[in-house]
Amino acid sequence: MQGNTACAEGALAAGCRFFAGYPITPSTEVAEHMALKLPKAKGVFVQMEDEIASIAAVVGAAWTGARAMTATSGPGFSLMMENIGYAAMTETPCVIVNIQRGGPSTGQPTLAAQGDMLQCRFGSHGDYSIIALSPASVQEMFELTVKAFQLSEKYRVPVFLMGDEIIGHMRERLTIPDSVEVIPRKKLETGSLPFKAGDDDIPGFPTFGEGYGVHVTGLTHDERGYPAATNPPAHERLVTRLVRKVESARKEMADYRVTNPDAEQVFISYGAPTRTVHQVLHDRPKDGIGHLQLRVVWPFPEFSLAEFPDAKAFLVPEMNLGQISREIERHTDVPVLPVPKIGGDLHTPAELGKALEGSR
């Protein structure tokens, strides 16, 4: 099955019943598969007039209780940023799939890149925090899409599936489980304030049409949901809670794979370059090279670096000019060597081998 198709299948398995999107290479297959399958699953598919309308419709549908998703790539992703900030501010659960392509601007529509990793975290204005997942195989496209829905429903936050054109368009075999755990949203208790949260910073969800009478606004709001834009303490309380909600739970939601934890030279990868690292480890099993594969990239799991106490160098192959490597640098004293490669071709084992020589 194709990666994009697997992503759509994962969404359907996780209970997604609303998709609004706009065609953009290389993510169009996700939309096409959803257009085919959703009506049969009693869901709704609508092709909107642009990406801004797509994410808007997804947020609107999410408020009626539906699990909603959209899929896009670089240029569409940039368009969606304002409404992504809106989803973060109003704590709307939704999943946004970005099958990354060469950028900036129109760039390379049919070739892969990983250039939006910092954008998914910091793309919209203001302070907020989101969750981003990075699949490295068709199986992971399925599994991580399911996980994206589970995380977005639990934490009431937009979750990004940061794929790329290689993983999106490749075909591999995958195993589809018989059933998948569907976590329902936490409901708001009647009578309690819609935006007041307990210790986990996650308020219950007041679905539209069930008598909650909630006013949802992108303006800074107080616990009742009413605008409080000229109220500095209310703004501080709200925004710090939005960030804390995700950041304080990063250990719980962390998902990474460790190989050879006692290695001195460690590759840290996410997405497509993971496959090259696997090849290098397979070709040189006795060289004691370590590998950390990040599946949840944001919120960044800095504690995963401690899994390699003897590391003398972290090598970070990325299909961009060094984005996650900057985040890694912040969290460790171990020298970080970015191995950037842009242009659409995946890193070759030889290139990674050369990087290893350079790091000795």
Binding site: F18, A56, A57, A61, V214, H215, V216, L219, P227
Partner: protein, 262 residues
């Protein structure tokens, strides 16, 4: 139940200026909604950004106050995901026609079952009085200090052309007709646009020699001409003064609609 029961009484009085037409339009909308027997638990108000879009914050129902220009897209998502909900959109002239122009065209084309109340006050009121696509030629605003040199957008005409099922235009002076037009819009399946010309004494009126609240309202009363009368006069070849605007129901038809509850 009266329309006054739909208000969030703890939030009144509103932030609107003295004599703002928006308050009147909210009254008329709630009266129309209430008279149809809708329940507040099944109704959702969606709005964009601007003075018009602060309205849902004063109404008891579930409401979504979205980003500038996009309420129609959010409302499409809500209506298609849960067609059993009644969706009413409050928007303004800039929100609908400027930044939201694309969503406006496509919502009309799709004929999604919702009612859009556009409070057209010829200006961007909330941000201090900048020009909008409906600012009359020669009018003074903060971004057209030498008089507006751009053509005026006819919102109702666009909605008719793009395929909306019901389009009407009234003013905030004609409260009874407005309420009736909104009622028709709520009942008509498919996209319904009710454009309301409202007074903005603070931002528009003050800069354009209409300082008193009653000045703009009198202007609206005197310059409104019923559509049927306008058609009759033009058919007979009689001249109609340039600055008159047509009011009334422009179209009511039965094109296939999306999101109509089964």
């Amino acid at each position: 139940m009266s329309f006054r029961d739909w208000y969030r009484v703890d939030r009144l009085p509103t932030i609107y200026c003295v004599g703002c037409g928006n308050g009147t339009v909210i009254n008329c909308t709630l009266h129309a909604v209430d008279s149809l027997g809708w329940k507040w638990e099944d109704t959702v108000f969606v709005s964009g950004i601007g003075c018009s879009s602060r309205a849902p914050g004063y109404i008891k129902t579930d409401s979504l106050h979205t980003t500038h220009g996009r309420p129609l897209a959010f409302a499409t998502g809500i209506k298609l995901a849960k067609p059993g909900l009644h969706v009413v959109v409050f928007t303004g002239d800039g929100d609908l026609a400027a930044i939201g122009g694309n969503h406006f065209i496509h919502a009309c084309r799709r004929n999604v079952d919702m009612t859009v109340i556009c409070m057209n006050n010829w200006i961007y009121g909330m941000t201090g009085g900048q020009g909008s696509p409906t600012t009359p030629r020669g009018a003074l605003t903060t971004t057209t200090p030498y008089g507006s040199g751009e053509g005026v957008f006819d919102l109702a005409a666009l909605a008719v052309a793009a395929g909306a099922n019901h389009v009407a235009r009234w003013t905030s002076y004609h409260v009874k007709e407005l309420t009736r037009a909104i009622q028709t819009g709520l009942e008509t399946p498919g996209f319904s646009l009710v454009e309301v010309l409202t007074q903005c004494p603070t931002a528009y009126g003050r800069r354009n020699k209409l300082r008193e609240v009653s000045d703009t309202v009198e202007y609206l009363k005197d310059h409104a001409i019923l559509l049927q009368k306008y058609n009759r006069l033009t058919a007979e070849g009689k001249p109609v003064p340039e600055d008159m605007f047509t009011v009334g129901e422009f179209v009511r038809r039965n094109r296939p609609a999306m999101g109509v509850p089964p």
